[in-house]
Structure formats: structure tokens, C-alpha cells
Symmetry: C2
Subunit: 357 residues, 2 copies
């Protein structure tokens, strides 16, 4: 990939960071004007939003704008930044639902407020305060996402075009999240069901809809918008499969999550579905007695990792990622996407699937 494309993406990331910083500064002082007691809310959300993050969804939206022949104005930078606030809601609520202690190497929001409760020796039950805070901070991020888009300064026409996509992506996100938590309650793993979840949680939410979001801002034709589907859907699945691998094999110092976190959570991913399908009876016994145990030792994590490798499930997922990424890149040759768009989308496909975090 050209370093020009890389620095174009970095510039966009920087632009998003600036807009988010500015928005959070305004909203924080608004909250403080209501009550000084809201300081922990704005401070926790600012730190959650601004400290890190790959900014993948705004970058895909940016690629949607450019690949439809549009350009990035300050208003459009604000508009695509709104996707990061939506993602903040998703992560805060996700961590609460999964009972995750950490996010990006720091306490998750519910744990953070639980700690405030303990440190300040507040009345009542600290975990209940953590839960309520995470629910409300996620809700607030969801509302702010919408507000940043509404006040971005894009034209009424642009807003009208982008809103149906924004609505649909948010509904798909919540639907995908529900299917995901529901999947964890099933007796058996199932590859087809896992792939449907991957499609909604990642294919559509992370890639296809952000692309559509950007393309519709640039006034792309329906035909061009539809052509992103053949790129976005397989790439999104590949993205989710990479997530599944990182959830089991990711390096904690890079992911900011404990090693083998998905194993402790008992997350029914495509990786686990394939492992279960291929496991010997002995391996199945080890899997069933360890998978989903929140207190797994690192030896037990190692044992499960070895089973996932020795069944060939891990390498099968790697080849699925490669195949899906190739399919998605091949789709770029059709559909009237600008050359600069093709460069961006190729670079982003690598970013989304060949990552350590």
C-alpha cells in the first residue's frame, strides 16, 4: 500500500480526534452547567472516547465519501465522528453485559464507577452504582452520537440521505448484540448462527453501513451504494473472525484485555463452533469442563488454546479470513468506485483483518 494512502487515513483519524475532543469539551461544560455532580460522567466518557480507539467506522465512512468522488469538509468530519460515539455506547453496554473488567487496559465503565463508589465510601451497593452508571453513560453516548450528527453542519439534504442509513445501522447493531447474547444461552454452538451474528455485529455495523453512511453524504447513486455490499459483507465477516481469534490468542499487552478473555466468557464464536465440530471426545470433555469458566487459570487457557489449534479450527479461521478478504477486494473492481477510493478500501481491508488489537 502507498504511504500516501496511509497518511491520508492518519490525517482523517486526527481530524476525527479533534472534532471529538471539541464536542466532548462542549458537552462536558453543558453537563457541568446542570450540576457539578455530573463531572464524573463527562470525565469518564471523555477519557473512554479520546484515549484510544482504531476509529475504524469513521475511516470506512471517509472511504465511502472518497470512493463516491466526494471530499471531506469540516461538517463531514463531524458527521463521520458521530460513529465513534455510537461505538462508545456499544462498548460500554457490551462490557456491562459481558461482565468485562477491562477495556483497552483500563477498567470498564461499570468497574470504574464501582471503584468510585468504594473509594468515596458512598451509600448503597457499589456494583448497582456501576451498573446504573454504565447504562446511563452508554445511553448518553448514543444520544450524543445523534446530536453530533445533527449539529455537524451538513446540509438538510445530506442529513435526509444519511439518516435512514444511520437508523438502520443502529437497529442492526442492537439486533446483532441481542443475537450474540442469545447465542451464549444455547445448548449447542452453530457455525451458521455465528456467521449471522458476525454479519450483523460486524459486517454491517462496522463496515458496510459506515461505507454507505459516507457514500450517501457524498451523494452517491443507489447503484454505487449497493456495490459496497459485495466488499463490505465479506470483509465484515473477516473482521469479526479476526476478533474471534484475538479474543482467544490476542496479546494482552496489545489488546488491553486479559489473555483468553473470550474463553472465560464462554463466547460462542465461529472459531469455537468449528473447534467443537472437530474435537475428539477427549477434547470435547476438556472443552466442556473449562469453556466459560470465569476463573480459568493460565494453564487452562493454554489447554483450550492448544485444542483450538490442534483441531485445525484456528488455521481454518485464518484461511476463511484470507478468502473473505480476497472476495471483498475482488469486488472493488466493479461498481464505479474511484481509484483513490479503491486504494483506501484496500488499505482499510488490511487494517480490519490483519491487526493485533
Amino acid at each position: 500500500m502507498s504511504s500516501a494512502t496511509k497518511s491520508e487515513l492518519q490525517e482523517t483519524r486526527d481530524g476525527v480526534e479533534i472534532e471529538l475532543t471539541q464536542f466532548m469539551r462542549e458537552q462536558s461544560s453543558y453537563l457541568l452547567s446542570i450540576s457539578p455532580e455530573l463531572h464524573p460522567v463527562s470525565s469518564a466518557l471523555s477519557s473512554f472516547l479520546l484515549d484510544s480507539g482504531k476509529r475504524l467506522r469513521p475511516l470506512f465512512a471517509y472511504a465511502g465519501i472518497k470512493s463516491a468522488g466526494g471530499s471531506l469538509t469540516p461538517a463531514k468530519t463531524k458527521a463521520i465522528s458521530s460513529l465513534e460515539l455510537l461505538q462508545a455506547c456499544a462498548l460500554i453496554h457490551d462490557d456491562l453485559m459481558d461482565g468485562s473488567d477491562t477495556r483497552r487496559g483500563k477498567p470498564s465503565i461499570h468497574r470504574h464507577f464501582e471503584s468510585i463508589h468504594v473509594q468515596d465510601a458512598l451509600e448503597g451497593f457499589a456494583p448497582a452504582y456501576g451498573l446504573a452508571s454504565a447504562v446511563l453513560l452508554g445511553d448518553l453516548a448514543l444520544v450524543w452520537s445523534n446530536q453530533l450528527l445533527n449539529t455537524s453542519g451538513i446540509s438538510s439534504d445530506e442529513l435526509r440521505r444519511v439518516m435512514p442509513i444511520f437508523d438502520e445501522m443502529r437497529v442492526e447493531l442492537m439486533a446483532g448484540q441481542f443475537l450474540d447474547i442469545h447465542e451464549q444461552t444455547q445448548k449447542n454452538t452453530d457455525l451458521a448462527r455465528s456467521m449471522t451474528i458476525a454479519r450483523y455485529k460486524s459486517g454491517k455495523y462496522t463496515i458496510q453501513r459506515p461505507l454507505h453512511f459516507g457514500a450517501s453524504l457524498a451523494g452517491a447513486s443507489e447503484e454505487l451504494i449497493n456495490s459496497y455490499t459485495n466488499y463490505g459483507i465479506p470483509l465484515g465477516e473477516a473482521f469479526q473472525l479476526r476478533d474471534d481469534l484475538l479474543g482467544v490468542f490476542g496479546d494482552p499487552s496489545v489488546t488491553g484485555k486479559p489473555a483468553g478473555d473470550d474463553l472465560r466468557e464462554g463466547k460462542r464464536t465461529a472459531l469455537i463452533a468449528i473447534t467443537m465440530d472437530r474435537a475428539t471426545n477427549g477434547q470435547l470433555k476438556d472443552l466442556k469442563s473449562n469453556f466459560g469458566d470465569p476463573n480459568l487459570t493460565s494453564e487452562q487457557v493454554n489447554l483450550l488454546q492448544e485444542i483450538i489449534i490442534s483441531t485445525g479450527a484456528a488455521s481454518h479461521i485464518e484461511s476463511m479470513i484470507k478468502e473473505l478478504t480476497d472476495t471483498s477486494l475482488a469486488a472493488l473492481k466493479h461498481g464505479g468506485i474511484t481509484p483513490v477510493g479503491i486504494n483506501l478500501l484496500t488499505e482499510l481491508a488490511i487494517l480490519a483483518t490483519n491487526r493485533k488489537i
Copy 2:
């Protein structure tokens, strides 16, 4: 009040019901097109939204439209109905945060999904499934609220005018909710803090902003919109104070909540703040040892109710409600509100403050 005004409000309520039913029908089939596993989501949300509810916020928005000289079109009926979906989010998340078992005489959403988990003998921990479902169903209601407004068919200009109000009311709601849960963690009750919470949770969210919402749809001047503030703020406080009384003295067969629910929850309301201020040492001892105990017997509830009455706190709150309502009705005489608007706002002031549910 004239029966014409009453039937006008009933017609509006019916119109809102029809739009919500239609919207939920469309969204339910959309969810089912993603996966049949989403059936419990659409069915629980439809039943939560359609089975009951006072529809106060859409009615105030309607009064906002009429009192600014506008009229109710089908598009505007959809637009004001969106406020009920926002309220559904608030209630679902509120019940989860408060750990409430019931809402309108039926299980709250987290308890409903917890029961599904038990009945269907699903894998995992039933309360965790209940929690996650309530988080996601609330999120979905929040997104749908926005979607119903976006797709209502109001003009781009109307949408542009109403959006800043919609954004602000949602931020105020979440801020008010946070202040409320934070208040429950404080060592002492405080009347001023309780009144700030009442102002944000109810004054603004339930009354003032819905009025502004409707008035801005009707293209009201900034001056007219501001004039609602003097009606809305005191009335909202009166509304919240009525809520506080119902939370302690409400008839369970009417409220659909157990008797003395707020006492079990230990809800720090203005009513409790005044009771604490006025209690004798003996009463204070009884209050401290019983208030906030989730397992209160009906005898203990009676004891607390008697203290709240004998300190004069209950009747003081009644007179505050009367005074605030009078202030709010007096404000109607100024500010260019249409005569039909004055009738509606007068009737709604009674509905909001003189209710059993």
C-alpha cells in the same frame, strides 16, 4: 374542564396508539427478517409500549402544537409518538437500574427475560440474560424513537427545528437519571438537590421539552417557546412531587407497582428529604433502620407511611403541588398562547398532578 378538551386529548391519545401500533408492526417484521430469534425482542417491546401508558409526553407535545396555532397532521402524530419510545427506553433502563420487579402490574423487562431464560432452561445465568436484554431493548427503543421521528414525514425544516430540542431533552433525561442514582448514594437527603433532579427528570423531560417539541413543529416563535418555560418548569416539579407521593402511598391495584415501592428502594425524594428534616429522634431511628430495606413487610411500610404523614411532610408536598400547579396555570395568561392551547394546558396540568398512576 370542558368535555370537548377531554375528548380532543383522547383522540390524540388514540392517534398516538395507532401510529405506535403501526410502527411496531413494521419494526417487528423487520427484526424477524434478520432472525426468528428476535421474536422475543419485538414481542416484549410491543407489549411494553402498547399495553398502557398515560401518553403524557405526546399529549404535551400536542398541546405545544395547538397552543402555537398549529394543527395535528398524520406526520406530526408520528413525530409526537416518538416521545413514547424514548419514554419506553427510560422506563426499561430505570427498572433495571432500580432492580424493580414490576411495571404496570407486569414483570419488568429484565425480569421478563430472566423468566424466559428459566422457562426455556437456557444455558448460563438467568439474571445476566435479563440484564443484557433490558440494556439492549432500552437501546433499541431509544434508536426507534429517533427513527420514528426521522421517518414521520415532517418536512426538513420541521425536522431541523425540532432536532435541537429532541437532542437537549434526551441529554437532560440521561443527566437527570444519573443525578437521581447518584443521589441515592449520598449520606444525607437534601431538598435542593432533590428539586434539581425533579426539574431535569420531570420538569424539563416530561413537560417543558415536549411542549417545546410541539411548538417548534408548529413553527412557534422563540418568544412563544420561551413562554412555555414558566408553565412547564413548576408543573414538572409538581408532576414529580405527585410521583413521589404515589411511590409511597399509591394504590398497587392502580399503579401496578407494589405498595411503598419507593420505601423499599430507598428513593431519596423531596418527600423523604422533608420527612427527614422534620422527624423526631425516635422517628429518625425508625426511618434509618427501615428505609431502603428491600424486604420491608407491609407493617414496616405502614410505619414509614405514618411517619411521613405525622411529620406533615406528605401534606407539605400536597401544598407544594397545589402552589406549583397554580403558578404554572397563572403563567398561561401571558405569552400569546391560543385559547384552545390554554384549555389543553389547563386540562393537562390537572392530568399531570391530580392522578392515581
